[in-house]
Symmetry: C2
Subunit: 397 residues, 2 copies
C-alpha cells in the first residue's frame, strides 16, 4: 500500500494582502503530476484544505478541479478531513454522494464513524478519518462530561477506535491537532498556524496514536514527526509566513508493507515564488537581478531612505515587506522618558532626538560638533538674507 | 417518464428576520416522502436552491441531507441548476464527482454542455440544464458580442441546444429566468424575487422554449405557465413574502409519454406555519385561539394601541408585522402644508393636528366641542391647584 500524505493546503490564503491561489494552483499541479507518475493507492489531506470557513470562489474552484483530477481522472481515492480553518458543515457537503467515487471528505466528527477500507495484496488498510473539532463537540457526541481539552478529546476518540478496530488489518489515523511528546506546551508554531484554543488546552499527547501503524497529521506547517517516525506532520505544501522561511515544503510518500511497517520518502515541491528574507543595503539590492519571489527586505542602510518599497519593487516586484535593520526605537528610550514637545526644543535638542530616532543610539560628541558647524553656517547665511527671528533658540545647549 | 418539478427552495432565507430553515426542513420532508411514494424517475430543482451565495451552515446541512435522501436512499436522480441567488462556483463544488451517483448540479454555464440523458421504456429523455447566468457570461462563453440582454442570452443558448439535439429523443429544458409571453416587462413579481438585472433587460421570450417537450422553470414564486402548458414555473414550495399570501405552494408531477406529450398534476405542500394577513381590532384578535402562523396583522382600531406587537404575540406568537389599518397620514396632508411648530400651536390647534395624525381626517365640530369641554374642566382643576402659567395659550382659537 502506497499513499501520499499532505496537509494544510490553506486554499484561498492571503499572505500580506496577496492571494496565494495562483501559487497554490502551481504547487497542486506538481502534486497531481506526482500522483500520475507514482500512482499511489490513496491521497491523504490531513485538514485545512481551505484557509477559512467561507473561502473565496477561486479557492473553491481550485479544490474542485484538483479533486476532479485526482479522483475522476487518476482514479485515486482521496481521504480528507476538516482542519480548524475549514467549516465542517460546508466541507461535508456532498461527501456521502462523492464517496462512492472514492472521494472521502469528513467534515463533521460523528460517534461510531466507520473507517475507509482500502485493499492491497496483503489485505485491508483501515483509514480512520478524525476531523478537527472543538472538545465540546466531542463531549456532546460521546456524552462524556469529562472531556475538557483537546487531549481529552483525542484520548476518547482514539480509545473508541481502538476498542473496535480489526486486529488483522493495518490502521492509519488521519488527524488535525497540535500533537506533542507530552501533551504539553510547545513553542513550535509559525505565524500562519491559528491557535486551536486559547488557554493552553490545545496540546495532544502523541502516545494516543502509538498503536496506529501510521498517523497522518495536519496543523503544524513544518514537516516533522513526534516521538516516532510514524506519527508525522506532512507540513504545508507552501510557505505561508516568513517564519516558515527555512522549511522544506512538500509531502510524504508512505509505503506500508504487509506488517504495517512504513518506509517514508519526503518529496519537495517547487514554489512559483519563494517566501524569503533579503538583507542588504539599498545600493546592494539595486544591483540584484530582477526576482519574482515574495521577499521580506531588511535594509541595512544607516541613513534615511525615501520611498523604500517603491525602490525595492523595481528589483523585487512582489516584495511583501520592507524594514530597516538599524532603524528602530530602542525600547528603553521610548519607555524611560516622555519626549519633549518639539516646539520647546532647541535646535541641538531636536538634532539629538532626531539622531536617536533614526539611528537608535545617542549622537556622539563628534556628530554633535559636526552638526553645530553646519547649523552655524546655515544660520549665518540665513541671517544675512532674511529675518533674524529664525535664530531665536539656536545653540542654547 | 415521470419527474417532479420544483424550484426556488431558497434554503437559509430570512423572512422579516426569521430564518425559514425549520419550515423548509418541514416542507422538504413532505417532498422527500412524496418521492418515496410516487417513485419518479427524476427530480428537477430549477434554481435558487439557496437564498444567497454564502448560505448559513444550517441551510448547507439541509440541502446535503435532502440530496442524500433523494439520491442515495431513494436512488432518484436529481437535476438541479443554479439560480440568481446561488453562487455558481460554490454550488458547482463536487458536481462532477457526484454525477455518477445521479446527482447532477450545474452551477456554471459552459458552451457545449452535454444534456443529462435518462431512459424509460420509450427511449431517451434529454435534460438540458441551463443555470442562471448574467448575459455577459453567455457573451464571453459563446464569443458573441451581440448578446446584451437575458433574452439574447436565452436565444443563443436555446439555438445552440436545438442545433445539435437528437430529434429521436424527448427534450426537457431546465432554466431559471424571467420568462414572459413577449419578452417584455411584466408586473408579476413578488417581494421575495430579486430582480435579475436593473434596467428592464431581464425578460426572456417564451417562444425560445416552444420546441422543448417541457420547460421546467424557476425564478417566479407563483406556479404558472407561460403561453403554453409545457413552459412552466413550479413556484416556490413555501411562501417567502406576504405578497405570496394567496399562492398555492407545491410542486408538479410531470408524466411524459412516448411522444413527449405531458400530463401534469399539481401537488400542494402543507407548511408548518402559514404566512397570511389577519385584519381585526385588537379586541377581536385577543378572542382568537392561539395560532403559530407567521401573521401580518392589520389592526382596525381607530384609537391608539400601546405595545401592539406585545399584545398580538400573546395570541400569534410568531406574528411578523403589525400595522394600523386606519392609522396613517393621508398623503395630501403631508404634502400640502408644513406642520406648524408645536410650541407655537394653541391647545385647539394641537388637538386638530393630533386628531388628523391619528385618524387621518379633520376633527368634526362635535369632536372639537367635546375636546374643549374636557380641556376646560382640566384647566379649571389645574388653576385651582397649581401655577397659572399653564393657561398661557389655552382656548385662543
Amino acid at each position: 500500500m502506497k499513499f501520499f500524505h499532505t496537509a494544510d493546503w490553506h486554499l484561498g490564503k492571503l499572505v500580506q494582502g496577496v492571494y496565494m491561489t495562483d501559487d497554490q494552483a502551481y504547487i497542486l499541479q506538481q502534486f497531481v503530476q506526482a500522483i500520475e507518475e507514482e500512482k499511489p493507492d490513496a491521497v491523504i489531506i490531513a485538514g485545512d484544505l481551505y484557509d477559512r470557513a467561507v473561502p473565496p470562489t477561486d479557492a473553491v474552484h481550485l479544490l474542485n478541479d484538483t479533486l476532479d483530477k485526482i479522483v475522476l481522472q487518476l482514479k485515486t481515492p482521496v481521504l480528507a478531513i476538516a482542519g480548524n480553518h475549514d467549516s465542517p458543515g460546508r466541507l461535508n457537503f456532498g461527501s456521502k454522494i462523492m464517496r462512492d467515487n472514492g472521494c472521502h471528505i469528513t467534515g463533521n466528527l460523528k460517534k461510531d464513524m466507520e473507517p475507509i477500507i482500502l485493499h492491497d495484496e496483503h489485505g485491508e488498510v483501515h483509514f480512520h478519518l478524525v476531523p478537527y473539532c472543538d472538545p465540546s463537540i466531542v463531549r456532546n457526541e460521546f456524552g462524556d462530561e469529562e472531556i475538557r481539552s483537546h487531549n481529552d478529546a483525542a484520548k476518547k476518540i482514539t480509545e473508541e477506535i481502538k476498542a473496535t478496530m480489526d486486529p488483522n488489518a493495518r490502521h492509519v489515523l488521519v488527524g488535525h491537532a497540535f500533537v506533542t511528546p507530552y501533551g504539553e506546551e510547545e513553542e513550535n508554531t509559525s505565524d500562519s498556524e491559528r491557535p486551536l484554543s486559547i488557554g493552553g488546552s490545545e496540546y495532544v499527547d502523541a502516545t494516543h496514536f502509538s498503536s496506529f501503524h501510521y498517523t497522518a497529521l495536519g496543523h503544524l506547517h513544518q514537516a516533522h514527526y513526534v516521538t516516532k517516525e510514524t506519527i508525522r506532520y506532512a507540513g504545508s505544501p507552501l510557505k505561508y509566513s516568513i517564519s516558515e522561511e527555512n522549511h522544506k515544503k512538500g509531502y510524504f510518500i508512505v509505503e506500508m508493507d504487509e506488517k504495517g511497517d512504513v518506509s517514508l520518502e519526503k518529496k519537495e515541491l517547487l514554489p512559483r515564488r519563494d517566501i524569503r528574507t533579503v538583507e542588504a543595503s539599498l545600493d546592494e539590492l539595486l544591483e540584484h537581478p530582477i526576482n519574482e519571489d515574495y521577499v521580506f527586505i531588511r535594509l541595512t542602510d544607516e541613513t534615511a531612505v525615501l520611498s523604500p518599497m517603491e525602490k525595492v519593487r523595481s528589483v523585487y516586484p512582489n516584495a511583501m515587506h520592507v524594514e530597516r535593520k538599524n532603524y528602530m526605537f530602542s525600547p528603553e528610550s521610548e519607555a524611560s522618558n516622555e519626549p519633549m514637545e518639539r516646539t520647546k526644543m532647541s535646535d541641538i535638542e531636536l538634532f539629538h532626538a532626531f539622531y536617536k530616532e533614526v539611528k537608535g543610539n545617542e549622537a556622539t560628541e563628534e556628530a554633535e560638533e559636526l552638526f553645530k558647524e553646519v547649523l552655524d553656517e546655515l544660520l549665518k547665511e540665513e541671517n544675512e538674507t532674511a529675518s533674524p527671528q529664525r535664530t531665536r533658540n539656536a545653540v542654547t545647549n
